[in-house]
Amino acid sequence: MALSALAPTLLAPITRAAPAGVATPGVLVVGLVAEPTSLDPGQLTDINSMKLLGALYDTLVRFKPNSFDLEPSLATSWDRSADGLLYTFRLRSGVKFHDGSDFNADAVKFTYDRLLDPNHPYADTGPFPFAPGYYGSIAETIVVDPMTVQFRLRREDAGLLDAFTLNTGRIVSPQAVMASRKDFAQNPVGTGPFKFVSWDHNVRITLTANPDYWDGAPALQQMIFRPLADEQTRITEFLSGGVDVIFDVPPDNIEQVKTTSGAVFLSQPGPHVWWVTLNTKKPPFDNPLLRQAANYAVNKDALTQDILKGTGTPSVGPIPPALTWAYTDQVARYNYDPDRAKALIQQSGVLTPINVTFWVTESGSGMQSPKTMGTAIQADLNAVGINTQIQTFEWGAFLNKYGAGLGDEAAMAELSWMFDSGDPAHMLPNNLWGPACSPKGFNGGCYQSAQVDELLDSALKVYDREQRGSIYKQIQRIVAADAPWIFIDNQIQNAAISTRVGGLDLHPSFYMTFLNRISAA
């Protein structure tokens, strides 16, 4: 939109004053990118709505601050049977939901049965799109005693503990779901540090502190979330003091935030990966040499510095560096080298110019600046003789196309993904596993490697993190050499906060966490 292009230049020279506005001590106002679609954790699929969930609900286990290491939350301890098929959780006692009902094993069973059993009496409060992907290995949830719950699995799933940190699995109050049924999505009740007060549609959602929170009473009295759909509007509102926190400052406005007194710029690398899928089933990219050539041809440093203005770092494989235990950079690297690309194309014997179709989305969750990035990639490929034709789709149509697979229609397509469970076990089987070849999964380029498939399966049966990590490192080496994608970048999450805000740290999972520790002077 012309508006977005124009505004940074307009705003730049004038806005040096400190955000003043309507700041009230103890009240934090957060700017969201859209009206939340629901506040039922099981229903949600968008990162924006999920920003509120950490305030309202808790998970069984959670990640420690600034890491992907687990620590107790509503469960105080857990163990796994020798065959890996039975997990036992001991629960925190004395915790109450905001509606006064007790948190116990029945609540855990209710939460997961509702998500997973289509015949559950409250299954119609869904749909719950993410649940089968994350918790599909659970066969049965068993109440042993009020403070002990067990999960019996249908197959080994070493990624399950990490999956219990996810928003989808946050524990809901059974009493509230039974009372409100479908309206629960508008009247959420959990055990979290803040209680739901009101939802003034399209204007604000108000939460109030839960003084009895088991992990310590919140420092704030109130949290308010405001939907501000236009990104320039969001920046303006932040600079004028109408909101205290905004996430994902547009690249063009970062300098401005950094030089505004009274504003603090935060950034945090996270579990995000952005790539270009290559169609491995059709010429030209059925030829590995051509796929490698495409990787050499694209200048990833220029992309991250000039287009993303440092909000991304070049990536070398399918797993983001934030997952330290599973990540390696000891893989085949494709540093920008157009001459090498041309040589590889010549070596392949394929005649130039090669004509390819490239699917690009106009926008989309986690897609950063997809059109500008697509155009830069197109220019780089054209320079080495891969004549790239861009086809642009709006996000909804794009997802449909990609989900059906590149097939005979396209040679390349953009995509990005979040590893928000901090675990490759939930992402790779969707995108690089042979049987997930689209339309069955989201392996749009239909990459097939017997070795990768076997390693992905075996990783689910190894529980030692280091050993499992080494399997994923092996997978990265194979995938990097095969180059089924052009590896582009990992996003760095950023936020602008007012200096009056304390205790707010960005977590590598990109969730809003430990909200009871946030304060506002």
Binding site: E35, P127, P132, L228, D230, T236, W395, G396, A397, Y402
Partner: protein, 316 residues
């Protein structure tokens, strides 16, 4: 006259039926699937298929249309796919915001526009006339969203007199003075173009009426200038103004799309844009139908107002 009204009302029903068919077909022809957009890339094809069945999207399109139409006749507009809320409530809630904004903009544009136009006409070819008409030309030429941004920078970021966005203060608020403070900038941005149009047309109309014989007669029989202008000139320029009212009301409804986005004003324009992007079929259909209905009713009431203002039409 009664027959004329009945005919017009029948026509309204026909137009709305046409709109409903058009919006239904267009949303279905747009590539992209609400179930896939809602569930995101991680959902399996099975889940997408299940959701399609739940929303009736697996039915043939004519069955879907007739089912939808049947429900609307009974007052049931369905539920928004994205927001999990009834469409009618959401649309009416949002329309309230648009209405406040559009009415405020209309009041500003008409009061100021008419004063500008009449002043310029009475002092035709003077320096003041040239200044006013230059301002009007500038107003027509400026894109409303740009005017909005400039107003935000001036009055919110630099002077800090008025809030930048939204309809209420983030904490508390919601009373009249709070909404009024939030309303000033978006309403002015939205009013600029129609104000300029009205000023120019009013000037032309007044000049034309001033040259009429009955005005000269009125002056000749010694009526004070004020009475000549108010009773004889203004009254006879009203027909033209009412025509503009009908046209500009439609423009104001359309213009709110940009202004609501720039000012994060909770109105129906911004809602519709988002609903289209999310493939929220029920919300798009309900919203468009409502806006079309309002538009048709404004045109109808404009025509009825002609009958009131111009006795000659009543007997035609």
């Amino acid at each position: 006259m009664q027959r004329y009204l009945v005919q017009r009302l029948l026509l309204v029903v026909l137009v709305l039926l046409g709109v409903s068919l058009l919006v239904f077909v267009v949303t279905r022809l747009t590539p992209g699937d609400p179930a896939r957009v809602l569930l995101g890339p991680r959902a399996t094809d099975e889940q997408v298929a299940t959701l399609r069945v739940a929303y009736g999207l697996d039915q043939p399109i004519h069955v879907q249309y007739l089912t939808w139409l049947g429900r609307i006749v009974r007052g049931d507009f369905g539920e928004s796919i994205q927001l999990h809320r009834p469409v009618l409530g959401e649309v009416l809630d949002r329309f309230r915001g648009t209405l406040i904004l559009a009415v405020a903009a209309m009041v500003i544009s008409f009061s100021v526009g008419i004063v500008f136009g009449v002043t310029a006409a009475l002092r035709a070819s003077s320096f003041l006339d040239r200044v006013l008409m230059s301002v009007a030309l500038l107003g027509i030429s400026l894109p409303p969203f740009w005017v909005g941004l400039i107003l935000i920078i001036t009055f919110s970021l630099v002077l800090r007199w008025l809030p930048a966005t939204g309809m209420f203060s983030p904490t508390g608020g919601g009373d009249f003075s709070d909404v009024f403070a939030h309303l000033v900038l978006p309403a002015v941005s939205l009013a600029v173009v129609p104000l300029a149009v009205i000023a120019r047309l009013t000037r032309a109309n007044v000049l034309e009426v001033l040259s009429q014989l009955y005005v000269r007669t009125a002056r000749a029989k010694g009526l004070p200038s004020r009475i000549v202008v108010v009773r004889h000139v203004l009254r006879n320029t009203l027909i033209g103004t009412v025509t503009i009212l009908g046209l500009e009301a439609g423009w104001l409804l359309a213009g709110t799309v940009y202004i609501e986005t720039v000012f994060a004003w909770p109105g129906i324009g911004a809602m519709l844009v988002n609903a289209i992007l999310q493939r929220d079929y029920p919300l798009v259909q309900g919203g468009v139908l409502l806006v079309a209905g309002i538009y048709v009713l404004i045109n109808l009431s404009t025509d009825i107002m002609y009958l009131y203002l111009d006795p000659r039409l009543r007997h035609a």
